[in-house]
């Protein structure tokens, strides 16, 4: 897997690079700002870009904008955003930015090495990896008596784990139930939300999120 990283703080960039290289992930280029990032993406055609939201020169949301622009230039590019804060507006923009895997994680999740590597794998493969705080925000957004109110607490839990990008098997492990129980919950969620079921986990997640965004 070929990865580029855009992160302006050398300390963090070095940490992520070291972590990825220890796990045989090929970091082909690093960038410190949005312009440099777009250049290395253009030059290296990576599978995945790991991008900090806040980059020089203005230190606002250049990283996010650059990542969306990179996806426009290279459709299908997986983008994993790392940030020190959760921002629903940014998540929605990222999710709406076209084809390919997307992820939005709080930076400290990198400390959970296994989970971070899983997220990288999922996003590179075209799936999603949303921080549980991101999911909580997106779900809470519809909490006020909307259609999500019809879900049971158990189903809500399943939906949140699904939105993080987990498979049914992973959800079953996380909830300590049998995979069959999860499948039942999932089909119940889809019927309540009036979404056609599909075999593809990632498409299901995207469908759920599309519903969350548009409701």
């Amino acid at each position: 897997m070929r990865v580029v990283i855009a992160e302006d703080l050398a300390l963090l960039r070095a940490g992520i690079v070291a972590l990825l290289r220890e796990h045989d992930i090929d970091v082909v280029a690093q960038a410190e700002d949005a312009e440099g990032f777009l250049r290395v993406v253009g030059g290296h055609k990576p599978d995945l870009a790991i991008v900090d939201v806040r980059l020089p020169p203005a230190f606002t949301d250049e990283g996010l904008r650059a990542a969306i622009e990179a996806r426009r230039r290279q459709p299908g590019l997986g983008v994993l955003i790392l940030s020190q804060y959760v921002e629903p507006v940014y998540t929605s923009e990222l999710l709406a930015s076209g084809e390919g895997g997307v992820g939005y994680l709080l930076k400290e999740r990198v400390g959970d090495v296994r989970g971070f590597l899983d997220a990288i794998e999922r996003v590179a493969a075209g799936g999603t990896a949303l921080d549980r705080e991101v999911v909580a925000e997106l779900v809470r957004e519809r909490d006020g008596g909307g259609i999500l109110a019809e879900l049971t607490p158990r189903e809500r839990e399943v939906l949140e784990l699904m939105a993080e990008g987990r498979t049914n098997a992973a959800i079953a492990r996380a909830m300590v139930v049998k995979p069959g129980a999860v499948e039942k919950h999932v089909s119940s969620i889809f019927s309540k939300l009036d979404l056609p079921a599909s075999d593809d986990d990632h498409r299901r997640v995207l469908a759920v999120l599309a519903f969350l965004r548009s409701a």
Binding site: L12, G15, L19, E108, G111, V113, D143, G144
Partner: protein, 353 residues
């Protein structure tokens, strides 16, 4: 300032104490003058008439009464240029009257007082103009006006600095303490991995990482509380949309703010919306809320309304805090919350420079 206030109080009291006596003093003066004039005229009549000399007595008496009246009037005006003008006008009037009377008594064919009258009138007109143009402002008033200007300017300056400083602190936290803690969790995570064969130590490292994660989360909440990143990055419209998305109740957002107001106004507006939506989520029983905002050239107006049960206490802690924030910017916060009729919070924030 203290001396000015003391001065002012003293003047007011002095005027109040003297208010009753000057009126009666003037009345007494008029009565005595009339009596003296009558006595003189009677003496003239009893002594067989002839040249009507009491006219000079009458003129003298009238002059003393006129002077008395003018002085009294001038003293009632506030000290300073206004009193000087009153004295000037009164003096001119007396002098004019005297000249005209002299002319009448001497029976001159030419109306010679005209020149003196013109000069007096011109001088008075110039004086009036100087006051009207503010070239001679009343001392205390001018001092206070300048002080108000200065305080308004410096207060706004202090608030601008504060808003900018808060954003800088947020950025320093982001690039400093938060980043270091993130780097720490990464290193702890890597250490934990390498300790797979020493599970008890790995567990220690893991709990250290979880602690660091909590510290990061607390710093994140703190940073958002002082200067929400999305507000600095994208401005009020995006920040209000973000608040709407985060809110526990459905929020309709209708915000049209093209040009970004100064950071201090933007931040105040943001916190008005944030606090009001929090209140609505707490008290409006899940009823949807609406945020509306428009920015003109020199004012930002925003309204947050909900369809809840109303009856909000406009003097409650949260709303009072918001009112202070808005009023510090010379803005206005109004709360309309009739029982059963929902709650409307409206903030008008001047945003001209």
């Amino acid at each position: 300032m203290a001396t000015v206030t003391a001065d002012h109080t003293a003047t007011t009291h002095g005027e109040a104490a003297a208010a009753a006596s000057p009126r009666s003093a003037l009345a007494l003066h008029v009565a005595l003058a009339a009596l003296a004039g009558f006595v003189n005229t009677s003496i003239w009549g009893l002594t067989g008439g002839g040249y009507f000399w009491p006219v000079w007595v009458w003129i003298g008496l009238a002059l003393s009464v006129a002077l008395h009246a003018v002085i009294r009037r001038a003293l009632r005006a506030p000290a300073g240029p206004r009193r000087a003008f009153e004295a000037h006008a009164g003096g001119s009037a007396i002098l004019s009257g005297l000249l005209v009377m002299l002319w009448a008594l001497t029976g001159s064919p030419t109306f010679w007082p005209i020149w003196a009258l013109l000069v007096l009138a011109a001088a008075l007109a110039v004086h009036a103009l100087l006051i009207a143009q503010g070239w001679i402002a009343p001392g205390r008033e001018r001092e206070l006006a300048e002080r108000v200007d200065e305080l308004t300017r410096t207060r706004r300056g202090a608030l601008d600095v504060q808003a900018t400083e808060l954003r800088r602190i947020e950025r320093d936290l982001h690039d400093g303490a938060q980043a270091r803690l993130v780097a720490l969790t990464m290193q702890l995570g890597r250490a934990e991995e390498k300790l797979a064969d020493r599970p008890e130590i790995a567990q220690l490292v893991r709990s250290a990482r979880v602690e660091a994660g909590s510290a990061i989360a607390e710093l994140r909440d703190l940073a958002r509380g002082i200067a929400p990143p999305v507000l600095a990055d994208r401005g009020l419209t995006a920040a209000v949309e973000s608040l709407g998305k985060r809110s526990a109740i459905p929020v309709e957002v209708d915000v049209d703010v093209d040009r970004r107001p100064p950071p201090v106004v933007e931040t105040a507006a943001y916190f008005v919306v944030a606090e009001t939506l929090t209140n609505a989520a707490k008290h409006a029983g899940g009823a949807p809320a609406r945020v509306w905002a428009r920015a003109g050239d020199d004012e930002l107006v925003l309204e947050v309304s909900d369809g809840g049960k109303g009856g909000a206490d406009p003097h409650g802690g949260g709303l009072t805090g918001l009112r202070h924030r808005v009023e510090a910017l010379d803005g206005k916060l109004t709360v309309t919350s009739p029982p059963g009729g929902g709650t409307l919070v409206r903030a008008e924030l001047p945003c001209g420079s």
